[in-house]
């Protein structure tokens, strides 16, 4: 449980820093939905839903966005991803990346519509910014998955190596 809280807190912090740096230059990848998808697949809906709400509230406070806009966006994105997972029978990296892409696309769209002032004025060509953000986020997600797979492979090689030596 501690690991999940630390992971989400760290992700929110990194997202905040990215928005202030890369976000000002071009676009920052949306990392929080990646972690929420990971939670929903491995730890169940409750962790993902709670994580979406609280991380959204904290991000809104940090980035001075209208309170509730990020949490609404993350929750909606999660719902869309869960609906996709019900109709698909997938597994593996492609399935996870598709879930991430759907979560990011829906959450960013809802966020822009909810956070723009006046409300709804985001329904304009500014929504097109979601497309490059999905690409950046999916690439980041693919990179993370590859890295995690590599680390897991190396650890399993170490273990099987030891077993072989002992055998």
């Amino acid at each position: 449980m501690r690991f999940r809280i630390v992971l989400l807190t760290f992700t929110v912090f990194v997202q905040f820093i990215l928005e202030l740096t890369a976000g000002r230059i071009f676009l920052a990848p949306s990392l929080v939905p990646l972690v929420l998808v990971y939670f929903s697949e491995n730890y169940g809906n409750i962790w993902a839903v709670d994580g979406a709400f609280w991380s959204g509230v904290v991000l809104d406070l940090l980035l001075h966005q209208p309170l509730g806009s990020s949490s609404l966006a993350f929750l909606t994105g999660l719902y869309a991803a869960k609906s996709f997972s019900k109709v698909s029978s997938g597994a593996g990296r492609g399935y996870l990346l598709s879930m991430m892409a759907i979560t990011v696309s829906v959450s960013d769209t809802v966020f822009i519509l909810a956070a723009s002032r006046p409300i709804g004025s985001g329904f304009s060509p500014v929504l097109l910014i979601v497309i490059p953000r999905i690409v950046i986020t999916v690439l980041t997600g693919a990179l993370l998955l590859m890295t995690i797979n590599r680390i897991t492979e190396m650890r399993s090689r170490k273990v099987t190596g030891k077993l072989h030596v002992q055998g």
């Binding site: 928005e19 202030l20 976000g23 000002r24 169940g44 809906n45 409750i46 839903v49 709670d50 979406a52 709400f53 959204g56 509230v57 991000l59 809104d60 980035l63 001075h64 966005q65 209208p66 309170l67 509730g68 806009s69 949490s71 609404l72 929750l75 909606t76 719902y79 960013d108 966020f111 822009i112 909810a114 956070a115 723009s116 002032r117 006046p118 004025s121 985001g122 304009s124 060509p125 500014v126 910014i129 953000r133």
Partner: protein, 261 residues
């Protein structure tokens, strides 16, 4: 039995999800009241309690006089340092009848949707909605909402803010609009106008909200807007919205006389 337990668990999960969605909606609708309105009200009440006068003895009277003189001293010192800066600000407005309130930018929104600026002056300082906001560089925007100790400003780069402008020295009138990504364009400019790149863009006397003569920016490009009907000018804003620190909030002309009546 297992199926019904599974159904109950699913219902609980869905219920939790929709509860959080509802709470997010409530926060979204009432957040401006919660954060700026309520927070501002609480801060004002807290200040009243902590800084209210309690004693009427001679010593306390002398202490108050000393504090008053110290404050006046520091204000005069501060004004001496900032005099040049404010002279520049007031110099570009050409408005002698307007009262102005100096304010500092507290924060601006970041992330996918940027733009609103919050300053540290509110209704208790005399700010009203639709007050014009300027900086030393030029026009910043208009006050969109006011709470007790803070005010929210919509910059001119927000698509909902339109400004009637005139170019100088070419004298072409047009309407300043912002695209959804914050780029400024002066539209409906007469085809026959002799506007050139580098012309200054100032607020015009039409429109009713903004006083005339405020620097908005500079013409950076000319293109045909509606084909054959008008020109469209790209405008580089004079103000750097990311680094603006001090602003002036201009009250309407004769505001204090009207209020005194």
């Amino acid at each position: 039995m297992d199926i019904s337990r599974h159904r109950v668990r699913n219902t609980r999960k869905n219920k939790r999800f929709f509860v959080f969605i509802f709470i997010s909606f409530v926060l979204l609708i009432f957040s401006s009241f919660l954060l700026s309105g309520l927070g501002s009200w609480l801060g004002a009440r807290f200040s009243e309690v902590i800084f209210r006068e309690t004693s009427t003895s001679t010593e306390n009277q002398l202490r108050e006089d000393i504090i008053h003189l110290m404050l006046e001293n520091s204000i005069l010192r501060e004004e001496a340092v900032k005099a040049e800066r404010y002279r520049t600000l007031l110099g570009i407005t050409r408005m002698d009848n307007r009262d102005a309130i100096a304010a500092r930018v507290l924060y601006r929104s970041e992330g996918l949707v940027t733009g609103t600026i919050v300053v540290d002056q509110g209704s208790s300082d005399g700010v009203i909605e639709n007050s014009v906001c300027i900086s030393a560089e030029g026009l910043v925007g208009v006050v969109s909402s006011v709470s007790e100790t803070t005010s929210e400003i919509l910059p001119i780069t927000n698509p909902s803010v339109n400004v009637s402008c005139i170019t100088w020295p070419s004298g072409a009138f047009g309407l300043l609009q912002s695209t959804s990504d914050g780029k400024l364009n002066l539209v409906h400019v007469d085809l026959a106008s002799e506007v050139e790149t580098g012309n200054q863009v100032l607020t015009s006397r039409y429109g009713g909200v903004f006083p005339d003569g405020l620097i908005v920016g500079e013409v950076s490009g000319i293109s045909s807007g509606d084909p054959g009907l008008a020109l469209k000018l790209s405008v580089t804003p004079a103000v750097d919205f990311q680094s603006t620190g001090e602003v002036l909030l201009l009250l309407p002309e004769g505001f204090h006389e009207v209020n005194a009546q």
